[in-house]
Symmetry: C2
Subunit: 397 residues, 2 copies
């Protein structure tokens, strides 16, 4: 697989400025555009938010954004007024180099909560990142690495669509690992496109995509203070968006990038050994389907059964039962990796060893089918392993 | 500590009838009264419920109950009509021996979901349990053991209060271990009293006690299909309940037993190494306080930080932030084991090593203080360990 490339007019860099303890660990990233972008953002709905969320949220939607600065190793959350001053100082330092206003730069931070930023390190890192800016796969990947916390691999995706005889690109980078739960823009992701979009169009494309991708994943049900997904559109492709059908094509491209990045987050979840897809169908509304899927996804008993390759289906059905959606047992059937385990409220005889064997591939498809309507939803999650516990019992001390 | 005793007029037994794989493991329990009891029950609010829940729920409140039959090793849940027939057959087998109607017997089952009961084993075990019935601490403890699944110790408590110059006793036995989450009668518990209560009084006493005890604990946030708490009052103390103050005294006794049993469940939670008390105060309503406490209790990141004796307070504050209760960071302060970590939205300098050391005792007190009102709630939970994962990854296969 070739490494993804950046859309036209964008440059990226990732450098090490010493926020992370490990020597030479990349911890500062920069994305800039050679012309003003329209920009949209989706942020955490947590009542306790990081200072960069407060600052960036106030700057989108916009049609004057020139770049995004991100650091890992410190989330600058729960840091009060000083934290907000620090976040603004980061954007000003970038703006000074680009010769623009601080308001034209967005900012994201991820890492431990409750510590003040090492601002001098970041101030010395920013010119270093600026010098390293480039439009090539290596620079893009270094920027994706600079966003990582406990992620083990950088997460990037790019797609190209043809519009009016020209190429339009959408690319993105994300970080995840833990403190991942849906119903907000989850984690950090920056999407860039060389399409020409109005700020309203960018906002519309991003919200649609996030709702079905980042909002439909959960590692541990813990909503972060820093979740942010940004979309920057700089128009460098020189392709006009003329019709609704053009927008639909771009929606598909933005959706593709968001689906891919959100699933990469689940595949790289802390300690995860299984990638779990939960399809819930036959509900009255999509919201009902999502709620059941999320409840199943967040049950530690479902997650640990999957860790043990154990088709212990009672845990799945009982989790659906406490999701808060009214149904009767007879309304519900369950299929795991293609084998029917529970049909219209009754257990089905099945070969446990065969289903368990199918789970050892690391891929589990849970299909919960109801007879209450036509709505459906798909949700992605990971299992819960002893390694997740080990990683999170040792994070700060 | 002496082993708790049964109230007057009650007998208990616990025997092994071969439901559990381990040889001689107690798996069938019986509680009977020598005269009809008033009886109240609180049950799971899961949409998917065990057959014994359906049967017992239909039989309370009542003033004609003579006993409760319980088995462990199989929850008789998700077993359709045959499961309900089996649950009724268990009560009929007991009623035949007592010379009463099947409707006068309550039934509970706990264990793996989705397997039909081994009814022949249970049918042969019931006469064995009937022969072993006795009113002494040994019989009571064997009954408590017969309810256990992955519990490592039996859970019992008894209190005595003086009323009109006579002694009135309240005693109970419970099982817990996992699939424990609040907002319903959680797990199995049987409470017995020799007080004379109307069915309405029994119901009132039980609901009040459960709301602040079993409904305020969580091991893993997974609501069971079988949760049941029963209170049987047989009046054998010959003490009349004359005034509201009498009822208040009995309420205190029932509360005491429920608090004790629910905390024993947390102390014996699967794989648990820490007992965690979460006090949330200063909210507009008790419901708001409970919701924040439960969200903190169910966060895998908070739980694993506690496993690691890590005062990683950002995880606690950020969990409070996604509980769905509106507040600003400045409204919130956090104290862990007596040390202030976060005050009115700002981090406080503190000695991490000292707080970490205090957590190594296995007792953690989390106090979240808000300035939004006068309501408060206390909630109890356990940590999340690699041992919990191991136990639940290996449960059926």
């Amino acid at each position: 697989m070739t490494s993804p490339t950046l859309p036209q007019g964008f440059q990226a860099a990732g450098v090490s400025c010493g926020i992370k303890v490990a020597a030479n660990a990349l911890d500062l990233s920069l994305f800039v555009s050679d012309r003003p972008c329209t920009a949209a953002g989706v942020f955490t709905t947590n009542r306790v938010v990081g200072a960069p969320v407060i600052v960036s949220r106030s700057r989108v939607p916009s049609d004057q954004i020139l770049g995004v600065v991100l650091n890992s190793g410190n989330s600058n959350a729960c840091t009060g007024q000083r934290g907000q001053d620090d976040a603004r100082a980061m954007t000003s330092a970038v703006a000074d180099l680009l010769g623009c206003d601080g308001e034209q730069i967005l900012v994201c931070s991820t890492g431990v909560i409750g510590h003040f930023l090492p601002l001098e390190k970041i101030r010395s890192g920013i010119p270093q990142a600026y010098s390293a800016l480039a439009n090539n796969p290596t620079a893009f990947q270094r920027a994706a690495r600079g966003m990582m916390t406990t992620d083990t691999v950088p997460k990037q995706h790019a797609v190209e669509v043809q519009l009016h005889g020209k190429s339009v690109a959408v690319a993105g980078a994300a970080k995840g690992a833990a403190m991942i739960a849906p119903n907000m823009g989850t984690m950090l992701a920056v999407l860039m496109t060389d399409a020409a979009l109005t700020a309203a169009q960018a906002d519309q494309l991003l919200r649609h995509a996030v709702d079905r991708s980042f909002n439909c994943i959960s590692v541990d049900g813990h909503m972060s203070t820093s979740d942010t997904v940004l979309l920057l559109a700089n128009g460098a492709s020189d392709v006009e968006v003329r019709a609704e059908s053009d927008l639909a094509l771009l929606q598909q491209a933005v959706d593709d990038v968001c689906y891919d990045l959100s699933q990469k987050i689940i595949r790289d979840a802390e300690g995860a050994e299984h990638f779990v897809t939960i399809e819930v169908s036959g509900l009255a509304t999509r919201e009902d389907a999502v709620r059941i899927a999320k409840t199943v996804a967040d049950s530690p008993l479902v997650k640990t059964a999957i860790t043990g390759n154990d088709p212990n289906w009672g845990r799945i059905v009982s989790a659906a039962g406490y999701a808060g959606i009214p149904f009767s047992e007879q309304d519900c059937s369950l299929i795991v990796n293609g084998t029917s385990l529970y049909e219209s409220g009754r257990p089905v005889e099945f070969d446990e060893a065969t289903v368990s064997q199918s789970m050892r591939t690391g891929e589990v498809l849970i299909q919960l089918k109801f007879i209450l309507g036509e709505a459906e939803a798909t949700f992605w999650t990971s299992d819960l392993t002893a390694e997740y516990v080990r990683l999170n019992a040792d994070y700060t001390t």
